[in-house]
């Protein structure tokens, strides 16, 4: 069964209160949604950033001639990492919605390589959070994509 909104809220509150860590949070949330389809996994985090990853998967290919992943799964990965780094940075429980997300593709991901997204919440206000980050396929100093986004809080912080 997929968790309903009540369960998701409860799980998010556990993360922001520190009752569960990001890895456990992700396991509880991940399995029955779009994130399950693309296979998003937790990698690491610090106060203001989080890293999530997807393994190479033939069903996510955008160009059968080359075997290169579509950009959609990489956007999904960055979107998910953005939401999570906002929760960890604010340390509070909010529902966030994406206002906009820009992805610049610096080069294609190598076929067969796992893709990791590193997203950071560098500023947040009463209503809006600003994120930036990058995606790489093995070496963080040679990114495949640069990412910038804005998110709105549903229900402004106290």
């Amino acid at each position: 069964m997929s968790p309903d909104q009540h369960d998701v809220n409860a799980i998010r509150e556990k993360l922001t209160s520190g009752e569960i860590g990001p890895r456990a949070f992700f396991k509880m949330l991940n399995q029955h949604s779009h994130n399950g389809l693309i296979g998003v996994q937790y990698v690491a985090n610090a106060d203001k950033w989080v890293e999530l990853a997807i393994d190479y998967d033939e069903k996510l290919v955008g160009d059968p001639a080359t075997g290169i992943l579509a950009s959609g799964p990489i956007i999904s990965l960055c979107d998910m990492a953005s939401g999570m780094c906002i929760m960890l940075t604010t340390g509070k429980f909010f529902q966030t919605v994406t206002i906009d997300l820009r992805v610049d593709y610096l080069r294609p991901a190598k076929v067969g390589q796992r893709v990791t997204a590193h997203m950071e919440c560098y500023r947040y206000t009463r209503n809006v959070a600003f994120v930036r980050g990058f995606a790489h396929d093995g070496e963080a100093d040679s990114p495949i994509a640069n990412v910038a986004g804005t998110f709105m809080f549903l229900g402004a912080p106290e």
Partner: protein
């Protein structure tokens, strides 16, 4: 001309058709495979649908040249305007410019009415043409 969709589009269960004006319109059914928070579409799945709409429209516009042109996304900016509900989602693309080396495309996704988009994406593509 039928438009071949990549594996990623099949994973999202996207289908293509043409409307009365000959425009390509994509549909994506709701299901757990595209769900984010409960009963809403995942933003990434919407971005995926918008990207596929742009690719399909570009491939169609290239016509006979299609097989000799590689289409590489350079920038994708997605604007989210409304939450995507648990129902069928449509998408179509407008090609603003189709040049020799670059194509500029804007895709829209909607559910009940086309005049109420749930998201849009502006995409710039590099076109790599076979020299032969």
């Amino acid at each position: 001309m039928t438009i071949a969709l990549p594996p990623y589009a099949q994973a999202l269960r996207i289908e293509t058709s043409r409307d009365n004006n000959g425009r390509i319109v994509l549909t994506m059914p709701f299901g757990s495979h595209v769900q984010g928070r409960p009963n809403f579409l995942h933003g990434g799945a919407i971005a995926g649908l918008l990207e596929i709409a742009a690719f399909a429209s570009l491939r169609d516009a290239l016509g006979d040249e299609e097989a000799t042109v590689q289409i590489k996304p350079i920038t994708v900016t997605t604007d989210y305007m409304r939450g995507g509900r648990a129902r069928l989602t449509y998408a179509a693309a407008v090609i603003s410019r189709l040049g020799q080396r670059m194509a500029n495309v804007e895709s829209f996704a909607w559910q009940e009415e086309e005049s109420k988009p749930i998201a849009a994406a502006r995409m710039n593509f590099l076109l790599v043409r076979d020299k032969s």
